[in-house]
Amino acid sequence: MDYRRRSGSVGRDNEKEAEMIRCLVVDDHPAVRMGLLGLLEDQPDFVVLDAVATAEAAVAFAESNAIDVAVVDYQLGGRNGLWVSRKLKRLPEPPRVVIYSAYSDGILAAACVVAEADGLVSKARLGSELCDAIRRVAQGQLLLPTVRPALADSMRRRLGSDEQAIFGMLLAGISPPEIAHTLGFSAGELESSLWTMLRKLERLEVEPAELLRNRSWVGTRRPTRLLTKG
């Protein structure tokens, strides 16, 4: 597959820059951060703008720099990767977000949906798979493990009735503006609901990555919201 032959839908001014995927690396572990930096800089179509250790530094960087994909460790010591994702998605030109996590399971995937992250990659994946995921996400694909119905049900029990509706619609791939419209919420109200939901659902990694071992990456659903975004 030639990822560089993407359509010009990214819509950048500079043609050369549009060819390159501008990345931000966020990981609190120095060795992982260096490893990520080395790997991504080695890719001909990636340019790593910065590698930071904290959630706050990531958000601060993204506020003043245009990035395409943020690769964010889920556990960052203080605030986690999902917090970063929600913050980044509120920017005027939100980047894609790949959560790079020790576990990548259905529960965390559901929390990623609420945080509007685009991808979830297990740290047990090969570097080439991570790069592949970054390229796909940059193209607008959504790479989240599916949430099994039984698990979604047990998570739903933790939410209020409005929140359950929002959660269901997010899982179905309906975009936040549409959800706000359907429920008659203002953007601010939906935003605060999403934060509340995230607080209820986050810190959730539970299943080992091997549960997802046989799950195909390619078959992941592609909700319209991500294809029409921006």
């Binding site: 990520l36 047990a124 090969l126 810190r203 080992p208 091997e210």
Partner: protein, 333 residues
């Protein structure tokens, strides 16, 4: 454990009851004989047979009454000895009947009960401390594995991915093998961390944690695990949830290791005033006459800690063995 502590040099002796009863009977007979000889020496030769019968009957009656009174006094002592021999602190709650007559023996029974009470509560506290320490240690190790070993392996994996692109093709396959080995270690580390500490329990509560446990267990062991979790379950204390979770974990492990069964069922239900966890298999049932292993003792100890009871028994209708934990909602402490 009580039976194991039995001292080997315990000597045989004539029981107190027999000794006192024997001495009393002899004394009575001697007293009667002396009385007859002293008071009516000449009558001995001319005893009518019916008088002799009355005398012997009266004597027997007196001896019997003496036996009965003695039995009532000494009986509690024998019951006490029996209880002291079989008492098992991991199955608490067994006591002497305190309706014993007011006597030293009754007093001893009361004191014995008080001592059991004290031992059980001390044991509960000690077990609680040990288990809390164990859980804290597990959490620490899990975090260490996750935050240090796991991250470093991830870093190695990333470096390998990068190096792989730069090396000669003949070395590449070896690097791929190393990558696979690192990945396998990484997954092992994560699995061990998860087993040490069920994060789902802290984050999602017991029901989801059990659901995840069953799925993971089925995945790894190949057992078909059915979950039957009731809808309306009361909120449990975190301490209680941890005990239920650990018992379920241990019971499923036992099914996979010992039962020979290919399926298991985990049921969490509410019956009046209690929450019950039942884990059953379709295996060969309990081995006959075997002492409970460390796993079962551990489950019992955890159960005792929250005032719950644990029963392990064979169940009919195509099932093998069942572990059943009953957690009273109002915990008597």
């Amino acid at each position: 454990m009580a039976s194991a502590a039995q001292s080997p040099e315990r000597r045989r002796y004539v029981p107190l009851f027999h000794r006192v009863a024997g001495v009393n009977a002899l004394l009575l007979i001697a007293a009667v004989a002396v009385t007859i000889i002293v008071l009516a020496p000449r009558k001995i030769s001319s005893f009518a047979s019916d008088e002799a019968v009355v005398l012997v009957a009266a004597l027997a009656l007196v001896v019997l009454v003496n036996l009965y009174l003695l039995r009532r006094l000494v009986g509690p002592l024998q019951a006490l000895t029996a209880l002291a021999r079989r008492v098992d602190l991991s199955l608490p709650g067994e006591r002497m009947p305190t309706a014993a007559p007011a006597s030293e023996a009754g007093d001893l029974a009361l004191t014995f009960n008080e001592m059991l009470e004290r031992l059980e509560s001390e044991r509960r506290e000690a077990t609680g401390r040990v288990l809390a320490g164990q859980e804290a240690e597990r959490l620490r190790i899990a975090q260490e594995l996750h935050d240090q070993v796991g991250q470093e392996l991830t870093a190695v994996l990333l470096v390998l991915s990068r190096v792989q692109a730069h090396v000669a093709p003949e070395v590449r396959s070896e690097i791929l093998e190393v990558q696979d080995a690192v990945r396998a270690s990484l997954e092992d580390v994560r699995r061990i961390a998860l087993e040490l500490r069920p994060e789902a329990l802290d984050d999602l509560g017991l029901i989801s944690a059990l659901a995840v446990l069953c799925e993971r267990f089925a995945e790894r062991s190949g057992l078909a695990v059915t979950q039957r979790i009731a809808d309306e379950l009361p909120e449990l204390e975190p301490e209680t949830e941890l005990v239920v979770y650990r018992v379920a974990q241990e019971a499923l492990t036992n099914v996979a290791r010992h039962s020979g069964s290919e399926r298991a069922e985990l049921k969490l239900d509410r019956v009046d005033g209690a929450v019950t966890l039942s884990v059953r298999d379709a295996g060969r049932g309990l081995p006959v006459g075997s002492a409970p292993g460390a796993g079962i003792r551990g489950m019992r100890e955890r159960a005792a800690l929250i005032g719950a009871t644990l029963e392990i028994s064979d169940v009919p209708d195509g099932w093998g063995c069942e572990v059943r934990l009953e957690v009273p909602l109002e915990v008597p402490r």
